[in-house]
């Protein structure tokens, strides 16, 4: 892999372009990591790559080693791993709510306990997701309660 950097003080906006013969998983991970700096997440759907603004993301979920991004109506496959996403979202409104889910707290309506002592978070799109009790303190810290 060859990396070439052109520094030009007259340039207003930094542009990163990648020239390749084939989009490999390694390249996808590089793109995903670059996007993390721009508050967008790269997600794959039907063979195409989308750049999803952070404010549209409801939660990330890791299933069988693959991370998925959930927006209001769509689901995308993320190239970045969940722990990497968590590191990047350290100072944001996203919080780990269970072992495999990082949720956007600004998309959360409420958290209610069920009869069997499970905790259910209701999202603004009507979806319910499970919250682990051990992460309640982290959610409290993120909300500044």
């Amino acid at each position: 892999m060859k990396i070439t950097i052109h520094q030009d003080p007259d340039v207003n906006e930094t542009e990163i372009s990648i020239t390749c013969s084939e989009m490999t998983s390694e390249l996808q991970e590089i793109i995903a990591n670059i996007c993390l700096f721009e508050n967008t997440f790269a997600g794959k759907k039907d063979g195409a790559t989308f750049f999803i603004p952070m404010k549209d993301i409801y939660y990330f979920e890791s299933v069988d080693g693959t991370t998925f991004i959930y927006t209001e109506d769509e689901t995308y496959e993320a190239a970045a791993r969940l722990y990497k996403i968590e590191e990047t979202l350290h100072n944001s409104k996203f919080a780990r709510i269970s072992k495999s889910v990082i949720a956007n707290l600004s998309k959360m309506q409420s958290i209610t306990p069920e009869k069997n002592s499970r905790l259910i978070a209701r999202l603004t799109n009507g979806e319910n997701i499970l919250v682990s009790r051990q992460y309640v303190s982290e959610i409290k810290k993120k909300l500044g309660v």
Partner: protein, 141 residues
Amino acid sequence: MSKAYWDSFLKTMGLIAIFYLVLSLVLRDGNQIRYFYLMTYITVLTHFFSFFTFRLKLFSGHIWVRRMIVSIFDAAVMMLMSILFGYFHIDNKKHLLTYGVAAVFIIVFCCFSFYLSDKIVKQNLERINQKLADEAEGDME
């Protein structure tokens, strides 16, 4: 998982050490140090079992079943360690009854601590939900 385990273990041992310190100051007896060894052995075993039972959701999907299993295990470990360390002997039926009553007390104490923990979680959830509602209101404005 291992980091979470050690963090949890250190907090638990810290509490036991504070408890022992207070007990030593109250009893004012240096011989009581042997009780600290007993508490350490009990804590290591019971903490290990309960941590992984809850984390890995072992034995049952229902939390109160897991809690009862952990409480009974804790009581059994305390009783067994007391016998092994020579603080308790079962010589007759009266001792067995005393043992049984002590085990029930330990289980009740464990259940009470779980109940308190649920109360704390519920209070935290109320604060979280209030904050979420305030933020949603702020967004609408």
